[in-house]
Amino acid sequence: MWLERLRRSFRTSIWRFTLTFTCIVLCICIGILTLVYRFTVSEQTDQLTKQVLMTAQSLSDIANTEGIDRALFSKTVERRSDKSASSILVLQTPDNVIGNLDSIPSALPTLPELTHFPIAVVDHLGQASVTLALGGQQPTRFGPLLVGILDDNYLVRQRDFLSASIWALSLTLIITLITGYLFNRKVLLRINQMGHLITEVKNGNLNTRLPLSKHQDEFDTLSQQINLMLDEIDNLIDSVAQVTDGIAHDLRTPLSRMRISIEKNIDTSVVNSEKEDWKLTLLDELDGVIATFNAMLELSRIEKGVQPTSLRQIDLKQLCQDVVELSLPLAEQKEQTLSFVISEHESSEKIVIMGERNLLFRAIFNLVENAIKYTQEQGLIELELNWKEASCEIVVRDNGPGIPEALHDKIFQRLFQVDVSRQNQGFGLGLSIVKAITKIHGTDLCVTSCDPGLEIKIIFNN
């Protein structure tokens, strides 16, 4: 659960933005550290290099001076090498080696190129250790001369700088990521709040509004605009409802009068009179008009949603049993088998959900009745109630002719009939009413072909 939440929060654009921002900050840090390195660690090496080059230059000048012979030059080198503890001077003549070291290490570059090379030193206690020196060889007419300087801090300096850099970069990375995650969460929370509201509105709960914070930030401005939009929609729906109520009132009253006058004029004592029969036919026709009219108004009404006060705890099992009991003779008339199945549930327990009893009964009955109507004689119709931990499903399945998949979305549209040639099969409002009822109950409606036949599922998410 939390893993999924984490994964979802990493998929957001704010998270991507945080990552980009972190990368930029890291690049800037690396740039700054490089500069710092140049001005500290390598500056020190530069200083030492200069020192070595100057010493080499002066010794080379001495070697090139006329009147200086090998013995004199060797002496100068020896004296200089003794004078300074840090500088290293070695002159290798064909006869002997003069200076701080026993020999000149091989593969030393010729000055002005320098390199770090290891040397063994013995301290005043007689302890031997290996340290680094910086230097190169300078050819003189008396033989190659090594000019160098002890640089025993070089490695330590480099290591310290590196570890300080790693620490600094890691801290920057961690701090930016944590800050990013916190911002991300906060923003996501508000976006989720909006998403939740939209779902509520989609489910017909038009009274929901977004909360506003004290900060008056951009989210508050957006929330305010969404709230205003919802107010406007609510007003529009209200005025539509008022118009329909008005139409209902204005049309029903004359229809009512018409029905009453026909009814009053029927003389029930006269049997088999053509005139009376005509009046009865008229009454039937009028009832048909009234029924369609009622269904249309009812649909608009249901689409607006039900008052929360009308919602009660309903036993779905009882409701389904009632539907089966009511529809069974319809199926028997066509010699069909209508069965009711409850799965994954203790059959003695109630299956309770919150809903409007009459509307839910109507939705399930409409589905079963539709299945009976369109399935051939001796067909099978099954009403199934599946109780699962996270959801509850009501499935109406038949082995009739089914509906082409391309039309699955259309069957819930008003006045839509799959086969236009079918006469007297209802008004094409039954499934629209089912859709409206399931929508206000926040359930999903799902149609699948089951070859042969059709399966319609109402899914209640617990």
């Binding site: 009132h249 009253t253 009512s256 009453i260 009814e263 009053k264 029930t268 009234i290 409007e356 009459n358």
Partner: protein, 229 residues
């Protein structure tokens, strides 16, 4: 029976008035809320037929004012608003029954007489607590849950039993399909199909087999009636 009709539409009002007068009732009328409320509080009526939308004072306001004044006359609400919420609202405020316009006058008549009978029974419980319902050679024992025609017992399904019981309790009255559906299944909407007819046909077949005479008659455009001829 004395009744009050509060309805603003003159044609509907006059038809209801005329219809009830023909069936032997005394009818007072009012065409707006305040007048209706005045009549209802000053006179005694057996039943009040109240329109939901009235000028000057809404039907529901009249209803709650009456109930607040401790007047418990049965009230049938007539309404152009058919939504289930409206129905619940009407019954919650204290209405006894709710009929959506346009309605069949026959149905209104039957619903009114049911309400009047119920009120009588409430006032005098000894009256009408009949456990044996009969018509012609058919008898229904409500305690023993048995139906016999002549000497032969007829086996009925629970819903068939309830259907027959409701028809017998209101014998010789035309009962609409909606009324049957509401009384037997206890759901409030118009199923708009022939499903009730199919149930009645099944019941009729069981009652009328072996050459027994017809008891349940269809009244076209209205509903069903149980009578001997």
């Amino acid at each position: 029976m004395k009744l009050l009709v509060i309805e603003d539409d003159s044609t509907t009002r006059e038809y209801i008035q005329k219809g009830f007068q023909e069936s032997g009732a005394t009818v007072d009328t009012a065409d707006n809320g305040p007048d209706g409320l005045f009549l209802a509080t000053t006179e005694h009526y057996d039943i009040i037929i109240l329109d939901r939308m009235l000028p000057k004072m809404d039907g529901l306001a009249v209803l709650s004012a009456l109930r607040a004044a401790n007047i418990h006359t049965p009230i049938i609400i007539l309404s152009a608003l058919s939504h289930v919420d409206e129905r619940i609202k009407g019954l919650k405020v204290g209405g006894d029954d709710y009929l959506t316009k346009p309605f069949s006058f026959q149905e209104l008549l039957v619903r009114a007489s049911i309400q009047v009978d119920r009120q009588k029974q409430l006032l005098d419980p000894s009256n009408g607590s009949n456990t044996l319902l009969t018509i012609a050679d058919l008898s229904m024992d409500l305690v023993g849950h048995k139906v016999t025609r002549g000497v032969k017992e007829i086996k009925l399904q629970p819903k068939e039993f309830q259907l027959l019981r409701y028809l017998l309790e209101h014998k010789e009255q035309v009962i609409s399909r909606t009324m049957l559906f509401e009384a037997v299944w206890d759901y409030h909407f118009d199923p708009k199909t022939n499903v009730i007819d199919v149930h009645i046909a099944k019941l009729r077949k069981k009652l009328e087999e072996e050459g027994h005479s017809q008891l349940i008659y269809t009244v076209r455009g209205a509903g069903y009636v149980v009578r001997t001829t």
